[in-house]
Amino acid sequence: MTDGMFDVDRIRKDFPILSRELPGGRPLVYLDSGNSSQKPAQVIATMREEMERHYSNVGRALHTLGAESTAAYEAARDKVAAFIGAPGRDEVIFTKNASEALNLVAYSFGNPTCDDERFRMGPGDEIVISEMEHHSNIVPWQLLAQRTGATLRWFPVTDEGRLDLSRLEELVNERTKIVSVVHQSNVLGTVNPVDGILARARQVGALMMLDASQSVPHRAVDVAALGADFVAFTGHKMLGPSGIGVLWGRHDLLSAMPPFLGGGEMIEAVWMDHSTFAPVPHKFEAGTPPIVEAIGLGAAVDYLTAVGMDEVLRHEHELTVYGLKALSEVPGLRIIGPTTAEDRGGVLSFTIPDIHPHDVGQILDDNFGVAVRVGHHCARPLHLRFGIPATTRASFYLYNTTDEIDALVRGLHHVQKVFG
């Protein structure tokens, strides 16, 4: 793991929590970054420094602290824009998490106050998602369909855990208003191909959204190159603070969309009986934004940029190759998702015969300090698709090591012994 410049040991030192001892003297083996990542000292220090030296509300304040905080907050927007290759900084909207970003777009449809054809939604219109979505990219569209009478449809998933695009032409058709799919699955690790779906969406005049919550943290994502209309992701999975997410969208679409949350800072002028709205991004940032959190996310982006996203990807790819091989040696273990590391991120979900994931996870944690996630990982329909109620999931990030994967495997052997 130490080819070239990338030095995982040095990186680990940046994460205070990784050297923590768990109760009972267990070391921490954190394999749950797909759920939420840990924070480097640089992010924590940036947030503290902001609160100890510069904090004030942004935008509204003319004084020194206000100017400093506003500059830092808007600089964070610049950093995020550069990080994802956004054509314009104004296309970066800060939300509280990826879920809000997805809901924001969903609520833009079928709003009677917006007469832009692209955002009309009613009976006969269709929304297309997939069977491998996180609940945050399912429920907002279900609620939209219920409110408007539109129809929700979805791509199936193959046995190998890939999107089944065989019926693409039929699923995405002239009635389709928006296609929203995950860029990288949080359960399968699958990285979905965007081009084919996007081309078809363009053909039928549908918009396209990507849930990039699991890709932006782990690989270089260039929204301009991807070509979709909207991209959502979340700070806490990419070394940033909780409480901050991002919606990127094309400027003309964001401008055409009706406002979502109303309140301070999203307005141009307010009278008692009507209001006019600020240009994007502020139109979608009602109220006091997560100021310190956005600034912390900027620091996380700096950190990732300094390491290099290609290095992050390479390291995680090595872990994935190693992990897939190591897990294949656990008797009976079944990987849910691609069993090779191609077009696949470092998220390994699996089942072990006759042992419930809750028991697997609990014993891994209790006996070995190995933190994995168990359950349906907010992707219950995907689990139903595979006929299982739950999986155990180990997910990797730049600070993980092959030693930690070895600890996981040792733990799994012990689990099998306990329940043997």
Binding site: G24, H358, A390
Partner: protein, 145 residues
């Protein structure tokens, strides 16, 4: 190690060798309870007799060791007991589980079920332990109705 406070030998024993598992006739009421967040399920039948006697508690289900062992322990405690006594045990078990590890269990009332005391410290697992017991309470209510 911490795990030992959760995975008591007795729990593992019940999980590997569940007592009274399988759905049996006759019965007065059958209920099906699901924990939608983790997918644990239990189907439970209750047959009551004269004088509030619990003649049989039969069940089937799937889920983690805690939820399955809890059903097995419940079967042992309730079958042959009375409705009144068994519901007392259910009360005490519920109190223990919801006590966030702060409640001192009453061993006299709980019997073997005291082995679950460690579960109370894991809020995410409390529902697993309670699933069968809540189903039982429900089934008894329906039998007596």
């Amino acid at each position: 190690m911490i795990a030992e406070s959760l995975y008591q030998e007795l729990i593992l024993e019940h999980y590997k060798h569940p007592q009274g598992r399988g759905l049996r006739d006759p019965y007065d009421a059958e209920v099906h309870h699901v924990n939608p967040t983790c997918g644990d399920e239990v189907t439970m039948r209750v047959k009551l007799g004269d004088g509030g006697k619990v003649e049989d508690v039969s069940y089937d289900g799937q889920g983690c060791s805690i939820s399955q062992a809890a059903a097995s322990v419940l079967h042992e405690l309730a079958t042959g007991s009375t409705v009144g006594h068994s519901l007392e045990v259910v009360e005490e078990f519920t109190r223990l589980m919801q006590g966030r590890g702060q409640v001192e269990p009453d061993e006299d009332v709980l019997g073997d079920a005291v082995a679950f005391a460690g579960v109370a410290k894991f809020p995410a697992r409390v529902k697993c332990a309670l699933l069968a017991w809540m189903a039982y309470k429900d089934a008894v209510a329906r039998s007596s109705a």
